[in-house]
């Protein structure tokens, strides 16, 4: 009986979680601009999408920022994690604590702090400041997903490689990196999704005229959203879903091996 109650709660929670997504997807095929009124099936919002410069520009910015931020954050975070792993004592703890700040800090505080930094250096707010801030808040997550893999690694293999005459660089590329690869992939994925989804930091650190999808949605939300946004989100959601399922299948297989 108790088990039944738990399953019923789970079912309700899933309805709660998926209701807004289903609503959005359904409205992306709705032949009316007004939400709440169903006026027949249409694909016109999907067509309009490719003629809407605001949305296309925002999509381009979102993807460019996410790709660059993921690349830089993954490299920086991996290298940093290797460095932190080799450290001991107080300085290690201090660096780890600094690394935790952007993870724990409310995003609005990170956002205004970075805004202050860029303002102080009189950087021109735009794509550059936007990308930089994404790198700043994504890197700690990469560090945090690579570090556990380093701890799990057998230190002797690195020493053996060095004893056998590998240069530190070779030891890094041939011994360390392959062993911590799952952590790097998880970190990169996390950085990419965080960057795609970010609104608050982007909102404060971008300049006039440079917006990503989140900012575009925020500005539209009060006036009524162009249903093409629903369409593009439906496409992105399906693409990400397929990717996620493939990755999940692959890791499950690897775990079985």
């Amino acid at each position: 009986m108790k088990k039944f109650a738990n399953r019923a709660l789970l079912a309700l929670v899933f309805i709660f979680l998926y209701a807004p997504i289903v609503t959005l997807m359904v409205y992306s095929f709705n032949n009316s601009r007004l939400r709440g009124r169903w006026a027949g099936f249409t694909l016109k919002w999907y067509q309009n999408l490719f003629e809407n410069p605001t949305i296309l520009e925002a999509l381009k910015n979102t993807l460019v920022v996410a790709v660059i931020a993921t690349l830089v954050a993954t490299i920086l975070g991996t290298v940093a994690a290797i460095g932190i792993y080799e450290m001991r004592g107080r300085s290690k703890q201090a660096l780890l604590n600094m690394n935790y700040i952007p993870v724990l800090n409310p995003d609005i505080v990170t956002a205004v702090a970075l805004m202050g930094l860029f303002g102080l250096f009189q950087l021109k707010f735009g794509l550059l400041t936007l990308t930089m801030s994404h790198i700043v808040f994504c890197t700690p997550y990469v560090v945090l997903s690579v570090l556990p893999k380093l701890t799990q690694m057998n230190d002797n293999t690195v020493e053996a490689a060095l004893d056998l005459g590998a240069t530190p660089r070779e030891a890094m590329t041939h011994v360390i990196i392959p062993q911590i690869k799952p952590g790097i992939v998880t970190g990169a994925l996390m950085a990419f999704t965080l960057s795609l989804d970010d609104f608050v930091v982007s909102y404060f650190t971008t300049g006039h005229g440079v917006s990503n999808l989140s900012i575009t949605i925020y500005t539209m939300a009060r006036k009524g959203i162009n249903p093409s946004i629903n369409a593009i989100s439906t496409i992105m959601f399906v693409v990400l879903l397929v990717l996620l399922v493939i990755i999940n299948k692959k890791t499950m297989k690897e775990e079985e091996v």
Partner: protein
């Protein structure tokens, strides 16, 4: 390879610590300007916060965040427990179903609640068919709370789930062998062992809940004004960086208090990572 650590240390000082120091300094700036040229030390920004209007915003924000956290815990714990007790192949898919919604832009999902709760929304139309309503579901505290619980529930479920999975089944068997019944095993073995996950979940819900301005802005309209909205307004519209920074510092203070009580154990804790 220690030079990598030094390099990252320098990076973290410039991009993580220094910006916070800047905000800290701004919060003591008496002149409303953004430059440091005419910096005058003053406590006026903090004094301004003790205005009844702002104190009310403060109390409201803490209350909304606390209630959302409690509701997330009340729903999230049984959900995490149910999933963790499923067959391994099944639970992996179920937890995936939990993560998938987070892959759609969070603003859009919040906006979707406007389409559901609005006067012409899905819910009111459904109620209309039953002869009820239309009810005023949007632009109030309940709508904001629904938005928060909706957005932050996975942050409660995932860490608790991770910790529950790590509990050694032998401990539960031992408890049963020693004569504990199901309820005793749950409260005296499982719950205490899952506390690190609960603490992580609480901080991961409470912190975004107390600082959000997007959810309160979209679902609360002009009626609900939280600390996040106040900071947003000072930086985006009012241009009063000093006061905005002071409010941000107060937010950090609340965060530190929450972390102190949350007692997150980073080494063994049930982090989501």
């Amino acid at each position: 390879m220690k030079k990598y650590a030094a390099m990252y240390g320098a990076w973290a000082l410039v991009f993580i610590v220094f910006p916070l120091i800047l905000i800290f300094l701004y919060s003591f700036n008496g002149s409303a300007s953004m430059a440091f040229d005419n910096f005058e030390f003053s406590l006026a920004n903090y004094e301004a916060f003790f205005n009844p209007l702002y104190l009310k915003i403060f109390v409201n924000s803490v209350a909304v965040a606390l209630i959302s956290t409690v509701v997330c815990l009340a729903i999230g714990y049984p959900v995490a427990y149910t999933i963790a007790n499923m067959a391994p192949s099944l639970r992996q898919n179920v937890i995936l179903l939990f993560i998938i919604p987070m892959w759609m832009n969070f603003l859009l999902r919040t906006y979707a609640w406007m389409a559901i709760l609005g006067n012409n929304g899905v819910l009111n139309r459904a109620l209309g068919l039953l002869g009820i309503g239309p009810l005023d579901l949007m632009y109030n505290m309940n709508a904001v709370m629904i938005g928060m619980i909706y957005n932050f529930l996975p942050f409660m479920v995932l860490p608790i789930y991770t910790v529950l999975l790590k509990i050694d089944p032998k401990l539960i068997e031992a408890a049963k062998d020693l004569g504990a019944n199901g309820r005793e095993t749950f409260w005296r073995v499982i719950v205490p062992l899952s506390l690190p996950g609960v603490y992580t979940g609480i901080t991961m819900v409470f912190i975004p809940a107390i600082s959000t301005f997007v959810i309160s802005n979209l679902l609360g309209g002009k009626n609900i004004y939280l600390i996040g909205n106040l900071i947003d307004q000072q930086f985006s519209f009012a241009g009063n960086w000093g006061f905005g920074s002071a409010v941000a510092m107060i937010l950090i203070f609340i965060l530190l208090v929450a972390l102190f009580f949350g007692n997150t154990d980073k080494e063994n804790g049930g982090g989501v990572l």
